[in-house]
């Protein structure tokens, strides 16, 4: 086959053997932030400078990294700030937000099994961020608006993170979370309740955090149970 044809074939081959299921749902999600800043990322046209994460690269848009449990959000903080003892943990002063996420076309890679079912490497969920970037680009090119994936930080069974690509704006709620149907533009707006201000991560979250460059116990167990070698 001529080189040009080979290139065309390679370009058309997705990373997956079958595409991840597209899901739509109203999720309750959580995010922890600095006490002086808003809950969500606004990239702006001028200077989108969110530090690279698992599902996006710095300078190429922004992503909203959310956990589907409050401990999951706190574990993200413990992992990033390398908080491994009570001396530092009790000096933390962060905000915890509860978010009502109304979304569709979210790629369901919420378990290591689902990665494998799509022909994808499950270690991408918990490994180095750069390894996941090609998948992130492909998912976005295929029109997915976000992705569900096993939490890399919160090392507990069934801990899942929800990542959304692109800007979102928070609509801060001071009472009960309203009915999701009242949000006139859920593709832009996310209802947000500030549930903790100036708070420290709970001990449980710290004790169940998988730290950078350390083993992810849930993934290790899955590998053992499935005879998988990354």
């Amino acid at each position: 086959m001529a080189a040009a044809s080979l290139t065309k074939v390679a370009r058309n081959m997705a990373l997956w053997t079958s595409p991840p299921e597209r899901v739509e749902h109203v999720w309750t999600a959580y995010r922890n932030t600095d006490t002086r800043f808003r809950a969500l990322w606004y990239g702006g046209r001028a200077l989108p400078r969110q530090e690279s994460g698992r599902w996006h690269e710095e300078g190429v848009g922004v992503a909203q990294y959310l956990a589907l449990s409050s401990n999951g959000a706190w574990a993200e903080r413990c992992r990033y700030a390398n908080i491994q003892d009570d001396v530092r943990r009790t000096e933390e002063r962060r905000r915890l937000w509860q978010l009502q996420v109304v979304e569709y076309d979210v790629a369901d890679l919420s378990t290591f099994d689902k990665y494998v079912a799509c022909g994808l490497k499950p270690e991408w969920a918990v490994g180095d961020h750069e390894n996941t970037w090609p998948l992130a680009r492909e998912l976005q090119a295929a029109g997915y608006r976000g992705v569900l994936s096993p939490a890399a930080a919160y090392d507990r069974p069934e801990a899942v993170n929800l990542t959304l690509w692109g800007e979102r704006l928070e609509n801060v709620i001071y009472g009960e979370m309203p009915d999701a149907a009242e949000n006139p533009s859920p593709d832009v707006w996310i209802n947000a309740i500030l549930i903790a201000d100036g708070a420290a991560p709970p001990e449980h979250a710290m004790m169940h955090t998988s730290y950078i460059n350390k083993h992810h116990r849930q993934f290790d167990r899955w590998c053992l149970a499935n005879g998988y070698t990354p």
Partner: protein, 256 residues
Amino acid sequence: MGGTAVLEAPRTIEELRSRTAELADDVDEQLDLAELAFSTGDGSGEFETRRDQRDAFSSQLRAGIRSLAASPVWRSHDLTTELLLLNESLRDEQAADEDATDPEWRVREVLQRMAIVLEAMGRQARYTDLDDPALAAHYIATALQDIEVSDVAALLGTTTRMVASYRSGEIKTVRKNKARITWLAHLVDELRGSVTPRGAVLWFDAHFPQLNGSTPRELLEEDPQRHGPRLLALARGGRGQLDQGGAQYGALDESA
């Protein structure tokens, strides 16, 4: 409908900061009104009243933005361009919102983006302050007021007597360790939104995998100018809102 009021461009840095903060407050107030109207189902009275209130606010906002954009300090800054573009978007959305009820929250969306840009502008002005070593030293010494003075001195690479002088503000010129002091000030400023003063000091001695196991203190002592941006990115991790980090990104030219 009257013409847009013209405000003089701010003449001093303090006036500039004050004008930025006022604009941010005005936008926040308008957002609060929109939120209240939505949550209570109160369409805020007759159409003429809503439209007049909206037009009065827009006129005031436009005058404020123009005065900022006319200031030598902000004139060529990317954030100013962002703000001007958003103001044009606001006009478009208001024109499309014929009964001034904003049912799809499009006007509100633009206002919130404006609020974010104005907040970033306020922060940028603060970052410019911290680039002055004397102000930076004073900032660090007062932000860590409750920390053992010997610990603060060790962080600054100076004596306990100098820390006392920094705290009093009597030092107008810093002669030694300027780079270390300014980077330290940016780092402390960044950390104060996430940790206590003691937590900030502990951060400097924590080993981070992102720093290949080094501590921030080790890297600051080795070469603050070289390691500063990386440390600032680490301290800022988890947030963003348009700031790139450090003085060399988007700094204000106060000599303009």
